[in-house]
């Protein structure tokens, strides 16, 4: 039985002018760590808000734990945990006060579910008398996660939990999610960081309110249709321009210190391109075949 089911969900803003979500359907299995991957403005937050009953969809049906997000919103609110993208705890309350407050609101106590949050809470416990507003970004996220978990939710919705958090804290955060998954909690997480996609069991790539692809990260990568090459040279800007003029090139995009490119016809293309670039006075040109990343797949699917 799927814990989260969406079918043909639509959401518009400004009286239908802006289509934020267009006919989105997918489902998340019980105990799954599911990632919603897409850039800012793709519709991730709208989907999360529909699933957490905060917004009404303009079309389609969705259910969480088998309860309808429109009709049974009160039941869903008792069961799920939600962590919005923006830090949304009481900044003028201390760490402990925040946690106690949310525990009481959910008719439970810190002691009752301490075991679930222990690993996370231990890290912020030394600061339990500090006001939440004075915590660092990573600490805030940990506290927010504790507050979202305090009532032992069946499904956990995390909207961009790692945005604005440093690399170490991000890594720690994902490790915490893996441990939570072992406790049997279904986790739906969204992120604009493509590298985090690999840490999910299944992902949905979303762009402009439409799902591009849903699969395990590995299968999405396997589904990349062409051989991908990485190229590096001395004048990267010039190289990108010149490569795009090369007739056999299908796509070429800048990727950190490399450009990633695919050819229309792979046969001998690598060699031809090298010669072509040499004629244009490019030096130290390196080309190598690589395995695509999720980001490559995303860009390819966008086109």
């Amino acid at each position: 039985m799927s814990d989260v089911i969406l079918s043909n969900i639509k959401k518009t803003y400004n009286k239908g002018e802006v289509e934020a979500v267009k006919n989105v359907s997918f489902s998340v299995e019980k105990g799954e760590l599911f990632g919603l991957i897409g850039p800012d403005g793709a519709g991730k937050t709208s989907l999360f808000r529909i699933l957490t009953t905060l917004l009404l969809p303009d079309g389609g049906k969705a259910s969480v734990n088998g309860f309808d997000v429109v009709k049974d919103y009160k039941t869903i609110r008792k069961k799920v945990g939600y962590m919005p993208g923006k830090f949304s705890l009481y900044q003028d309350l201390t760490v402990e006060e925040n946690l106690t407050f949310f525990a009481t609101v959910f008719n439970t106590s810190i002691e009752e579910n301490y075991e679930l949050i222990r690993d996370i809470y231990i890290q912020i416990e030394p600061f339990k008398n500090r006001r939440a507003g004075k915590l660092s970004g990573g600490m805030k996220q940990k506290l927010a996660l504790c507050c979202a978990l305090i009532h032992r939710p069946t499904v956990l919705f995390l909207d961009e939990p790692t945005t604005g958090v440093d690399a170490v804290s991000r890594k720690e955060f994902w490790e915490m999610l893996k441990r939570l998954k072992k406790q049997g909690i279904t986790i739906l997480v969204s992120t604009p960081y493509m590298d985090e996609a690999m840490l999910c069991e299944r992902i949905a790539l979303i762009q402009n309110g439409e799902i591009l692809s849903i699969n395990t990260p590995e299968k999405i990568i396997d589904g990349f249709p062409d051989q991908l090459y990485a190229i590096k040279a001395e004048k990267m800007g010039m190289v990108l321009k010149d490569i795009r003029q090369f007739e056999n090139v299908q796509s070429c995009n800048s990727f950190g210190e490399y450009h990633h490119l695919t050819f229309k016809q792979d046969n001998k293309a690598e060699k031809q391109l090298k010669e072509w670039l040499a004629n244009r006075n490019h030096q130290n040109v390196e080309i190598q075949a690589i395995k695509p990343t999720i980001e490559d797949c995303f860009i390819q699917l966008m086109q």
């Binding site: 009404l56 609110r77 949304s88 309350l93 949310f102 009481t104």
Partner: protein
């Protein structure tokens, strides 16, 4: 219940940890009551008045002496005819003219009655009213002394004329009005930002995805502010009594209970504003600009309601502070009991109930 207490405790934390706002909440009423109290005082000193003594006899001189002794007046004695009197008023320096007719003493002794005319510039009704009162009471004083040794009743008829504003209506005491204004505005302002603040900071988003109860959330917001307002009320009353020499003639307990009722009315209105707006700024503009003017205009302590067009008089009925003003005047100045103000109390209760129900109904269980 446990949930409710958690909410209330949280609200108290919010209030007491925001030191600047707290200071403002207590500073504002104190500043206002002192400012209003002294600025709006209606005691008048050293006003220039003109006396036209057409009689110049023992009686008129005795009265003029008495007027001169009083600190309120600076006297100038000239003979003026009616046109000249009006000219003096138009120049604006003279606020009051007292005219004794010829043969004042003679008429007093032989006809047992004499007349004196007091003409006041009523373009400022409150000043005119006060000055006339002063003058009348001084003449009355003389009259009493005169009566002491006589058997036949004597009569001095003071004829008052208010020019420029014959329909003179003036407030005699501003404290009840200032109380109504300050208590009402501060209470509305405080709560009007309370719920919308959670919307703005995003905490409402988290709170909504929980088994909360809208009624508890809304009411718990008002509780800390209720206590703050009661403290404000005590401060205002103490200041009024000590600094502004106001006396409370009626029951202090009744005054407190009625004030508590007004505070709850104002808090409910604040909650309604908070539930209906999307940003703290809007909420504050509505509660400050939107409430200040109608409250000042329609409470009746600055501008008499009886003089307003009927439409405005009808509108004034929806201003809670108006009813509270009537209640406070009745208790503080007239010393009346509950039987005299039950109607106003009932109206305030009705308003409170209505505002509370609407604001709870307006509470959005979803975003946008």
């Amino acid at each position: 219940m446990k949930q409710f207490l958690a909410f209330v405790r949280k609200e108290f934390y919010h209030v007491f940890r925001d030191r600047k706002t707290l200071l403002l909440l207590f500073g504002m009423p104190i500043a206002q009551i002192i400012l209003f109290g002294f600025a709006l005082t209606n005691e008048i000193k050293n006003t220039k008045i003109v006396i036209c003594d057409n009689s110049n006899d023992i009686a008129t001189r005795a009265i003029i002496d008495k007027l001169e002794v009083s600190k309120n007046f600076e006297i100038e004695q000239v003979f003026l005819n009616n046109n000249e009197i009006e000219e003096t008023f138009k120049k604006g320096k003279v606020k009051l003219v007292i005219v004794f007719p010829p043969n004042f003493n003679h008429s007093l002794n032989h006809e047992n009655k004499a007349q004196v005319q007091i003409i006041a510039d009523a373009s400022d009704p409150n000043t005119a009213n006060t000055l006339t009162m002063y003058a009348t009471s001084i003449i009355g004083d003389y009259h009493k002394e005169l009566m002491a040794g006589r058997k036949i009743p004597l009569q001095i008829e003071t004829e008052m004329r208010m020019i420029y504003n014959p329909e003179l209506k003036g407030a005699t005491n501003f404290v009840p009005g200032v109380m109504a204004l300050v208590l009402f505005l501060v209470s509305v302002l405080m709560t009007s930002v309370s719920i919308v603040r959670e919307k703005e900071s995003g905490t409402m988003e988290v709170l909504l995805v929980s088994p909360f109860n809208a009624v508890l959330v809304v009411i718990s917001k008002a509780i800390p502010y209720f206590f703050l307002s009661i403290i404000n009320l005590i401060v205002i009353l103490v200041l009024s009594v000590t600094l502004l020499d106001m006396t409370i003639k009626g029951s202090v307990i009744l005054l407190f209970l009625e004030s508590a009722l007004l505070i709850i009315t104002a808090l409910s209105l604040g909650l309604l504003i908070s539930n209906s707006t999307a940003s703290q700024q809007t909420a504050m503009i509505i509660s400050l600009m939107g409430m200040l003017l109608p409250t000042v205009l329609f409470t009746g302590f600055m501008f008499p309601l009886e003089n307003m067009p009927l439409v405005l008089q009808v509108i004034s009925n929806i201003i809670p502070a108006k009813w509270y003003y009537i209640i406070v005047k009745s208790i503080m100045i007239k010393g009346l009991g509950f039987s005299a103000i039950w109607k106003e109390t009932l109206i305030l209760m009705g308003m409170t109930l209505f505002l509370l129900i609407v604001s709870i109904k307006k509470f959005k269980v979803r975003l946008s």
